[in-house]
């Protein structure tokens, strides 16, 4: 792969209902790296995640997004998933009537191929993942996200990530609604899926709690649809301690 970025975003601008949300995002993630995007409510964090995944409600006005050199914006959402993009939703949707076990098998089959969704390897991976995430076997016969607690929903998203083995995992506020044990478990899941591989992750969060466990390579601060500051893990601690006002002040001073 050399130095080819796993994900390369250049000048990404996107709107919803004629309201511009993303106003020129630039970001590069190399294979094996974990990046975090932090920002206040309404800064465009979740929009970034949804635009990368191809949500039809958002319109990309300008810019480009490449995954391993492939134009992601040309792809439908299911094609992006099959190309290796995974979004862990902040609020995963429930699908009453669709059983978890059936859903996982079909999803893995669609993304990794039929062979990956059957046989002992799949069963073992599923069993290990469920044990690691503290999910009971009866979970498989429940309906997708139907009646799940907040923590169960987030653990289920991570279980899917572990089975799908994406190239790029986007975690949209996966830590919200989780207790400290849950955050630790999720962090272990991210580490297991990303570290030492050619995959990468983009963690979107309000807080640095999850980042204390995942240890991102880079932190980006998003304000009003733009990445205004990037830095190492120490940036998360500073944001936790001082909030975002000082970053905004810096931006104003530089304008």
């Amino acid at each position: 792969m050399g130095n080819l970025p796993l994900l390369k975003i250049e000048g990404l601008e996107a709107s919803i209902d004629d309201t511009m949300i993303l106003k020129g995002i630039n970001l590069e993630i190399l294979p094996g790296e974990v990046h975090a995007v932090m920002g206040r409510n309404g800064s465009g964090k979740s929009t970034t995640a949804h635009v990368l995944m191809g949500h039809p409600d958002y319109e990309v006005v300008n810019g480009s997004v490449q995954l391993n050199g492939e134009d992601l914006l040309e792809m439908e959402a299911f094609e992006r998933a099959r190309a290796g993009v995974f979004l862990s939703f902040q609020y995963p949707h429930s699908v009453p009537g669709l059983q978890v076990g059936n859903f996982l098998r079909r999803s893995v089959s669609a993304i990794r191929g039929e062979e990956a969704a059957k046989g002992a390897e799949f069963r073992n991976l599923l069993k290990e993942g469920m044990e690691q995430l503290g999910l009971d076997r009866s979970f498989l016969s429940r309906y997708v996200n139907d009646g799940f607690s907040g923590g169960e929903k987030k653990r289920f998203e991570i279980l899917q990530m572990m089975l799908i083995k994406p190239k790029l995992a986007i975690l949209d506020e996966t830590d919200s609604g989780l207790d400290i044990d849950g955050i630790r478990t999720v962090a272990q899941g991210v580490d297991a899926a990303i570290r030492g591989s050619n995959s990468g992750a983009l963690i979107i969060t309000h807080y640095n709690r999850i980042l204390e466990h995942v240890k991102p390579d880079k932190i980006h601060v998003l304000i009003d649809g733009k990445i205004v500051k990037s830095g190492g893990p120490e940036l998360a601690n500073k944001l936790e301690e001082k909030g975002y006002d000082w970053v905004e002040q810096e931006v104003m001073d530089n304008e």
């Binding site: 992006r80 099959r82 009537g97 669709l98 859903f103 799908i164």
Partner: protein, 367 residues
């Protein structure tokens, strides 16, 4: 028999039961005074697990005494034309019985294979006291018009899951009239996918104290299908319980109707009843009507409610599945199957459910 039908042949088009599909339209020839020749279907019974049928289960020709004991055809009020018609044209009347206290481990398949232009059967159902059984009645075959009249009783303290399926076929008239014995617990399921025209009239009576009934429907209509289901549940016994959940997924230019009537008679103290119709509209030209009605003549009831919900496939659910690799066709099929599966999964055991869902999914892949 034929003269008995002709007395009821002229129906009240304004009556709930005939408002959306007239008797003339449901009648096989369209001439309501016509009493045509009919074939009799082949009927066989087997167990889903392939094992041999236990003693105490039988299908035989019914006697006049059986008809007198188990027949309910006169209880259809404004809908009487349909069961009277089937009674008038059937070549044979059968009795399906399970003896008292029999517990059947595997679901029982009752296969009704139809042939010819018109094929009818009158099936008397005699489920004994304290029976535990799951019954799947499959209507299949190539008859252009099929008429089925199922009448009878579930015995006292029996636990029965009774599902009727028609997943392939053409025109169907089905009338059910079944009563529940004391403390009987019955789940009555209907699965209909791809009848070009169906008039389904299902009636249950909770006449004895403590009986409990769940009526579930999974209906899939496509092309220009016209499916009309009428479900009536009458509580006359004390402390009786019923729930109706009817899901219809409506595609193409199909027209689907569900009418429900929950009736709580005076004296049915402690009755608890509810009905819910859900319609999933899969195309702009599909039509769905749901008309739940209540008639409560007793003041001391636990509850009696009804509701309907209509809508298209959920865009957010479609997006969620697409982010998990499902293309548009796969995502739509999965959501339709999930919608139909909700009442299916409540029709019986995992084995019964697995049998049903496999057939529904296979059918979805063909349309």
């Amino acid at each position: 028999m034929s003269s008995s039908y002709l007395v009821h042949a002229i129906t009240d088009k304004a009556a709930h039961i005939w408002r959306y599909t007239s008797w003339k339209k449901a009648h096989p020839t369209g001439s309501i005074e016509d009493i045509p020749e009919s074939n009799s279907p082949e009927i066989s019974i087997s167990l889903v697990d392939g094992k041999s049928i236990p003693e105490g289960i039988s299908i035989d020709e019914a006697t006049d005494l059986d008809i007198e004991r188990l027949g309910h055809e006169l209880d259809f009020d404004n809908g009487t034309a349909a069961p009277k018609f089937i009674s008038a044209v059937v070549p044979k009347v059968y009795k399906f019985s399970i003896k008292d206290k029999l517990k059947i481990e595997s679901p029982l398949l009752v296969k009704i294979t139809t042939t010819g232009d018109i094929c009818t059967v009158r099936l008397l159902i005699d489920i004994g006291n304290q029976v535990e059984a799951e019954i799947i009645t499959i209507i299949e075959g190539d008859a252009k018009w099929t008429g089925i009249l199922r009448e009878g009783k579930y015995g006292a303290n029996s636990i029965v899951n009774d599902v009727v399926t028609q997943i392939t076929g053409s025109r169907l008239l089905r009338c059910d009239a079944l009563s529940l014995g004391r403390d009987a617990q019955v789940k009555a399921g209907t699965v209909n996918a791809s009848s070009s025209q169906a008039k389904i009239d299902i009636r249950h009576w909770l006449s004895e104290p403590g009986s409990s009934l769940k009526v579930n429907g999974s209906i899939l209509s496509s092309n220009q299908d016209h499916l009309d289901s009428h479900i009536e549940i009458t509580h006359t016994g004390r402390e009786t319980h019923s729930r109706l959940e009817w899901h219809s997924a409506c595609g193409g230019k199909s027209n689907t109707t569900g009418t429900g009537m929950l009736r709580i008679d005076a004296g049915a103290k402690g009755a608890d009843a509810g009905q819910l119709f859900h319609n999933l509209l899969l195309s702009k030209k599909a039509k769905a009507n749901s008309i739940p009605e209540l008639e409560v003549l007793e003041s001391e009831v636990v509850g009696c409610g009804h509701g309907t919900a209509n809508g298209p496939l959920d865009e957010q659910q479609l997006f969620y599945l697409s982010t998990r690799g499902f293309d548009e066709h796969q995502a739509r099929a999965a959501l339709i199957a999930a919608f139909l599966n909700t009442p299916l999964s409540d029709m019986g055991s995992q084995q019964l459910h697995g049998w049903l869902i496999e057939r529904i999914e296979n059918h979805l892949n063909t349309i």
